[in-house]
Amino acid sequence: MQNLDSLRPPRHPVDPRAVRWWTAQALVWTVPPVLLLAAGALIFAPARPWLLAALAVVAIPSALYVAFMPRARYRVHRWEVTDDAVYTSAGWIWQRWRVVPMSRVQTVDTVRGPLQRAFGLSGLVVTTASSAGAVRVQGLDHRLGADLAEQLTEIAHAHPGDAT
């Protein structure tokens, strides 16, 4: 993983099942348009060359996305919780590393979409007082996610401060 010179990645990778979840998610988005175009090419003979061209334009990047995105994402999505801070890295194209001190944590929630639930995963959402958005860790084992949320809430509770 390309990294900043002296910054080490967060300790923990997300759950390996996240790769399958991201693949499924990518398929949900990419398969319907491909199928539609293919069906169109089968049915409407006169427009076939155009539809096939469109199919190629859509299908090739889609296939690459499905093939490479989940693994790339798995490599960069990492997290770590210490007594003092939450540290995450994410983003397979636009990389980002975030640190939120524990004293600034406002709420800790877990979120689970239907697809994520099917894979036994959950996401952790750590909000702060900033409107710039919450820190998210997606693709954790759902039991670990729940424990982590509880633990984080406790640690954050132990830190005094008004979190702004």
Partner: protein, 569 residues
Amino acid sequence: MTGHRDPSVTGDRDPSVTGDRDPSVTGDRDATVTGRDAPGAGERLDPRTPLLGLRWLLPPLASTAVAMIVTGGRPETGALIALGITAAVFVLLTLGEVARWATTRYRITRDRLELRTGLAHRTRTVVPRDRVRSVDLTASVFHRVLGLAAVRVGTGQDRGADRLTLNALPAARAAALRAELLAGAATSDESGHVARFSPGWLRYALLSGWSVLIGLVPFGAFFRLLDVIGVNPAEVSALTALWSALAASPLLGAAIAVAVILLIGELGSVLLYAEAWWGYRLVREPSGSYLVRRGLLTTRSLTLSAHRLRGAELSEPLLLRWGRGARVTAVATGLPGKSEDAHESRTLLPPSPRAEALRVLADVLAHVPARDGRTAPAPGGESRTAGAPAPAETPRLEELRLRAHPRAALRRRVVRAAVATAVFVVPFGAAQALFTWWPGWAWAAPGVFAAAALAFAFDAHRALGHTVTPRFLVIRCGTFRRRTVALDRAAVIGWTITRSPFQRRAGLATLSAATAAGSGVYRVRDIAPARALALADEAAPGTAPGAFTPFRISPAPGERILSEPGHEG
């Protein structure tokens, strides 16, 4: 799966009420209040309040009058029907206003402010007095004619319905209420006066970037009006004559049109500026809060509690910068997002001479209350005296030496300028190929564009800069709108380093400081990754370790070693 919410972490951001879990504003919509309240439970609004409804009459009356004039006093049936409907709506609105007045009561007790309103749908709003952070008075022209003012009580919370409005009270009563609710509010204007309007500032209104748009408004309104009263523009002989005259010599016509639009736009800008900022005064009250009074027709008096102040920003849009002017806005919490309201109450100084802006900025920064990030400030705006004493620092922005960003950042901007130029040139080339009449000298346009883009690229790089003072993180960026923000280091609540694919190739990174105040995040764009880490360390408040420090493999030379990475979560 349910979320995990710990009340003590979730709820009170405001430490002034420890242990009190009462939300700042309780809107009990029909929940607890049933039946009629005892008469006389609290004070009424001013009985003249329903008269404010008269303002709804003005637009229909005006449009009717115009229609009468245009049609020569022979109104069509359609116009009469419209008038009838207007009258009916007005009667309904007025009845509604009367009902609102009759059913509204407010009460101030020792520890809370209470408002009950609504005829069928009773609403009771309670604001604990120790949560009151701002009391803003607004008086429109109609209010002022009637001697009234609207009072808006805010609690400084980010939540949506976080305030209580009393519309309207007698002006004197409104001012008294403000003084009563805000302990330590200025009793006279002269205490702690920071800045005052000077009519010469109106010239900075001319440098508003919005002038062209403002100039177009009357034309749009004019044609809209013609449409409303059912006149086809093509049938107005004066207009067609004007049009053919302009079409006869397109260049001259275009020049005249542009000149007229600009003239109207600049006039409009000056009028809007005067309406908003005439009589402006910035006062720092004994409590440390800032009070902005302003307005020509509609007068406003807005409070910014010292509690919410986390820094300030100098903003210099291109034209204003060329005219050596600047604006000052507060970086404050609890002024949510991008709403008109928030924008209004954030502006501490309107476009004015740059020297004045720097002076006001320094004054505000010197009075940002000290907060060490872990201990809560004391209630009632006394944090400046109660907390740790603020470091004796009055940062003069013009004296700070900002650290420039690497050459690679300049290269990125030059590349962007080149791309923009290419996008501009392509249609030119196409036009050249397609139209035989396309004049050769038109190629001057892409040339000028390229030169300007390059100049802006260099200017944008010159604008980039950052530094850390004992109390503030100072970031400057932007060429079309240069912003220099000084953010209290203790107000940073999270750090992010981001790298786009282009930044990775150029060996750059962006460091973002998240905060509860202002725009929520302030970015130091395009610096070396090692510098981003070092900056996050330097900007940590006081002697606290840098956010990324525990997660570094080995400390850089000269860095302090603070702790081993904490145990796993």
